[in-house]
Chain length 471, copies 2
Amino acid sequence: MSAIERSKKSTLLLIVLALSGSGAARADDLDSVAATLIERGLATHQAWELVRSLTVEAGSRFAGSSGDARGVAWAERTMRELGLENVRTEPVTVPHWIRGEAEVAILSPWAHDLVAVALGGSVGTPEAGIEAEVVQVSDLDALEALPDAAVAGKIVFFNRRMERRRDGSDYGPTVQPRGRGPSAAAKRGAVAVVIRSVGTGPHRFAHTGATRYEDGVIKIPAAALAVPDADILEAQLESDRPVRLLLRLTARRLPDAQSANVVGEVVGSERPEEIVLLAAHLDSWDVGTGAHDDGAGVAVVLQAARLVLSLPRRPRRTIRVLLTANEEFGLSGATAYGEAYAEQMGDHVLGVESDLGGGRVWRFATRVNEGALPFMRRVHALLEPLGVEWHGDAAWGGADLKPLREAKAPLADLSADATSYFDYHHTQDDTVDKIDPDDIAQHSTVYAVLAWAVADGDVEPRPAPAVPARR
Amino acid sequence: MSAIERSKKSTLLLIVLALSGSGAARADDLDSVAATLIERGLATHQAWELVRSLTVEAGSRFAGSSGDARGVAWAERTMRELGLENVRTEPVTVPHWIRGEAEVAILSPWAHDLVAVALGGSVGTPEAGIEAEVVQVSDLDALEALPDAAVAGKIVFFNRRMERRRDGSDYGPTVQPRGRGPSAAAKRGAVAVVIRSVGTGPHRFAHTGATRYEDGVIKIPAAALAVPDADILEAQLESDRPVRLLLRLTARRLPDAQSANVVGEVVGSERPEEIVLLAAHLDSWDVGTGAHDDGAGVAVVLQAARLVLSLPRRPRRTIRVLLTANEEFGLSGATAYGEAYAEQMGDHVLGVESDLGGGRVWRFATRVNEGALPFMRRVHALLEPLGVEWHGDAAWGGADLKPLREAKAPLADLSADATSYFDYHHTQDDTVDKIDPDDIAQHSTVYAVLAWAVADGDVEPRPAPAVPARR
C-alpha cells in the first residue's frame, strides 16, 4: 500500500466513523464515561443535599396534603434548576385520607398507653372508641385456625416479628396481616385489629402503611403498635389473664384531591423517542418526612440525571425522570402514567425505580431479552468495583413500574442495602439524618452509569420476558 | 514446746478466734463471699426481669399519677417477695403537674409540624397558642450577649448539641438552658422558649426534664424539640428568612398529691443501727416507661439485696434499700427521707445510688475518711476483674443522696457506662428492651459486692470529707 493509498484509507476510515454516528466510538466510550460518572458521583454529597432540601422545604408529602403540593412545586423547580428538559407536571387524582389521632390503651390487667398509629386507610372508631378483649395470633393462617368463638367480639392482635435482612425480604411475609388482616378478622367477627409494627427497629415508633378492605366485608378499624408496645401487650398476654384493650381512631376519608406526577428529561440526541425511565415516588406517608421513603429515590434519580447532564454530550436515547404521585396509598401516579403514556409503553427500553431507601446499591438484576444480556453483564462489570453483585435476569422493577411491567418493557432492579431501611420505613423517624451521604452518593452514581449505558448504547433490551404474577 | 503445750496453744487460738467474733475470719471471708456474689450475680438475668416486671405492670411512674401508685405497690410487694425485712412505705407529698399536649409548628418560611414535649413544670400557653419569630442562641451566655431588641417578643431557641461520652459529662453543661433558660429568656422579654433536646440519640423523640422558674420572673412556656426537628428548625433559620413558630401547650399544675418512699432492709447481725444505704428512684417521667431511668436503678439495688440474702449469713451492718418518690420533679422523696431520718444521718456508714441507667459499672469512687481508703482500694481490687476502674476519693453520690451529702455521710459512686443512656433518657423510648441483661447483671453484682464488703467489714468510713458545692 502506497503512502497515498494509506492516507486515503485513513481518511475513509475517519469518514466512515463520522458517518456511522458514534456507534463504535461510543461503545468504546462507555468505559471512560462510566469512569467519569463514578469519579464525579462519588465525590459529591449533592444527592444527600437534595433529600435535605426536599424534607426541609416540603416535609411530609402525603397524598392530598399541603406537603404533597409543596413537594410537587419543589420537584418542578428543582428539575428546572438542574437543567432537565420538558419539565412538566401531569395531574393525578389521589384519594384523601386523614389519619387523625390514634389512642390505644391496655385497660387490664395493667393499664398502659401504647404508642400506635392507624393503618393507612383505616376507618375510624366510634367517638368513645372500641373496648374488647384481645386475641393474639402470629399470622393470617393462625387466625384461620382459631374457632369462631375465640375471635368473635375480640380485637385481633397480629404479632409477628420482622427479621432484619439486607434484601428486606422478610417484609413481604410480615406485611400480609397489615394489608389483609382487617378483612380476614372481620369475617370471623372481630371488632378491630392491632398489629405489631412491620419494622426491624427497637425504637418506639409505630409503622403505618396501607391496609386493604375487601369489598363486601365490614370495615373494622386497624392500628399498628410500636415494637416495644407490642412487647408490653405480649408480656401482659403471657400473664394468662384476660387483656382488654381500648382503641380509638379518628381517621376518616375526604373527597379525592389533586396531585401530580412530575416529569423531566435528558432528551436523547439520536433516538429521543426511546426512553430509559428512572422512577421514584414524590409522595410519602404523613408521619415522617419521607427521607428514606422515598425522598432518597427522588434524589437518586435527579442526581443521576444531573451527573449525565454534566457530561460533554447527550446520550442517544432519552433519559426520563418520573416522580410519581401517591405511590403509598394506591399507586395513583403510576396508574396515571400508564394511562397517559399507553401509546409509548413500547418505547421504554428500560425502566428502573429507586424505592428502598438511601443505602448503597449492592445488587443488579435485569429483565431483558437474551440478546441484551451480554451488554448488561458488561454494565455490571462497570458497577462491580462499587460493590454491586450480579443477580440474574429476573428483575421485578418496583411498584411504580407496574404499567411497564404489564407492557413487558425491560426492567432493572438496583437493590439498595435495606439492612436498616425497615427501622425507619413508614415512621415518624424517617428523617434525612438517617441517610449516609456517601451511601446515597454511591446509589445515585450506580443509577447514572446504568442510565447512561443503556441510553447511549446500541443495545436493544426489548422485548423482555414476562414477569410471573407475584403473591 | 511439748505436745501437750502445743495442743493447749492450739485450743487457745481457737478460743481467741471464737471470742473475737468473726473479725479476722470475716476479713478473710470477704474474698470468697465476693467470689460467690460475682459468680451468682453474673449468672442470672434477674435484674433485667425486675425492670421488665416493673415496666409491664406499672409502666410510667410520674409523681402523682396512677402509675406512680402502681409502682409503689409493685415495690412493696417485690421487696417482701425477695425477703427484705422492715418493708414499709413512707408517705411523701409530691407536686402534681400534667403535661397535656404539645403542638409546635413552623409556620414560615416552610410549614412543618415538629416533634416536641413540654419541659417538666412548664406553664401552658393560651388556648390558641403563641405565635412569634424565632431567635436562635447556643446557650445562656449567647442569650445574654444579644441586645434586648433581638429577644423581646421572640421565641428563644436554645440550640446546643450534647456530646456522647461514656461518663455522661456533657449533660451538665448542655442541660443549663433546660433549667434556667425560660426565666433567663423571660427577663429579656421573650414570650416562649424551645430547646434542642438534651440527648445524644438521632431518633425523633423529644427529651423532657424539669425546668425551674425563678421567683418574681414571669413564667413563659417551654418545650424541647426532638433532635431531627431541631435540625429542621436550624436548617430553616439558615435560609436567613424570618422563621415563625407556633407553640401550644396544655400543661397545667394540679394540687399536690401523695406518693411514698419504699424502704426495706437486710438487717445487720451485729450493728443493725449502722446503715449501708442503696438508693434508686421509683418514679419516672411520664413519657416512657422509665426503664433506664430509673427502673434499672430500682432493679440494681433490689437485686443486690437479693444476692446478699442468698448468702448463708447476714452482714454485720444493715443494708437498707431506699426507693424514692419523685426524684425527677423536685427530689421530694430524698427530702422526705432526710427529714424522717434526720437523727439517723450519722448512722449511715455509706450511701450509694444507681441513677445513670442499666449499663455496666466501669468506675468506682468514694468519699470516705482517709483511714478507710485502704479498705476501699481492697474492694476495688475485687471489682477490677469486672472492668471497674478506680476513680479516687471525690465521689458525689447522686441527686437522691443529698441529705447524706449534707450530713457528710460517706458516699460512693459506681458509675454506669452512659454512652447510650442519653439516647433514651426522659423520652418515650426508655423501655426495657434498651437494657442489656448481661450489663445490668454486672451492674447489680458490683453493688452487691460493695454493699456486702462495707456492711460486713470492720471499716469505719466516717466521717467523710465535705463535698464542695456544685455548679
